[in-house]
Symmetry: C2
């Protein structure tokens, strides 16, 4: 698999809107500097609709055919609403990267999941997402899981291409800024 | 007045959320490529709260001291909710540019305003915003109004600094993409 210099990537992140819902933001970047589009959806906090909502947000957009990679901030959105990155790849045909700043602490996650409904279903998704990989870039250790890539090198090439000043690649960093900026407003109508 | 190469600018645009409200998005860019923050608010369509909401959105943000210029897409947001750019400059201390792709058709605007409450108040804001200026850049004629700049050249310098592939400078172009991307989602909870 070869990725060109100026491919389009969608970065996805979320922010809590209230006690029940998170806003989901997708940012389409062409190369690391050109923001071409923004899509959005809403998901249940600690729910099971992350995969469907991310898939639909991408498929319903006008950018579907251009997007070459989906980038996530880890494999959860909206609290513990897990994204099955293998399933997301199968349903969209687009390779998926989940970036992490730290190696996930599975003991801690396992304990947290005791408080949630359908723990087994959540654990099955985590296992299906595959190994945690790591590499060094610009003096930082970056962790990631991937689906739909032939080789780790292909995935790491894309991460490097979209990283600028932050450990987190631009599409995910910008999706985070937008989600936070929207969620904070509440409904401040006077 | 001198503006440095990598100043921070906030670009503002809106999109209709429903029949009554528009979402207002502010995008803080450092230079034309680094997105540093997103803020948001809501305004009444055809209302009179644009100035207050934009002012508060900026003053309440953590970016206030860094923002050197406010950029708008014309002097209206949320339909005919006019922004008095002179007042916005006075209340924030930050120079304001309203960019336009075309020279506004004041006869057409005047007729449209006949259907709205408090026409006189709206016309007074339009008049207070001052002359329509124009200059050529990259083969395009760009129109603008300004407040808080000593010279037209200073204002045009900033517009050029933040223009990349579009007639519309990056902060306003990105604010437009975000506002549209958010407004389109509605509340698609299933």
């Amino acid at each position: 698999m070869r990725f060109k210099e100026n491919i389009r990537v969608i970065g996805i992140d979320d922010a809590f809107l209230d006690d029940a819902y998170s806003i989901l933001i997708g940012v389409i970047l062409r190369g690391k500097h050109v923001l071409e589009g923004v899509v959005s959806s809403e998901i249940h906090i600690d729910g099971f609709d992350a995969n469907d909502k991310i898939r639909d947000m991408i498929i319903d957009s006008t950018y579907l055919k251009q997007i070459k990679v989906i980038m996530l901030d880890g494999i959860t959105v909206g609290g513990f609403n897990f994204v099955d990155i293998k399933l997301l790849y199968e349903e969209t045909g687009i390779p998926v990267i989940a970036i992490m700043r730290r190696r996930p602490d599975f003991d801690k996650i396992d304990t947290a999941l005791d408080n949630l409904a359908e723990k087994d279903k959540r654990v099955a998704i985590i296992k299906n997402c595959g190994d945690i990989n790591a590499f060094f870039y610009n003096g930082n250790k970056i962790f990631y899981q991937m689906a739909g890539f032939d080789k780790n090198e292909d995935c790491e090439f894309v991460i490097k291409k979209f990283s600028v000043n932050s450990i987190i690649p631009e599409p995910v960093r910008i999706a985070h800024l937008i989600a936070s900026g929207i969620a904070k407003r509440g409904r401040n109508i006077t």
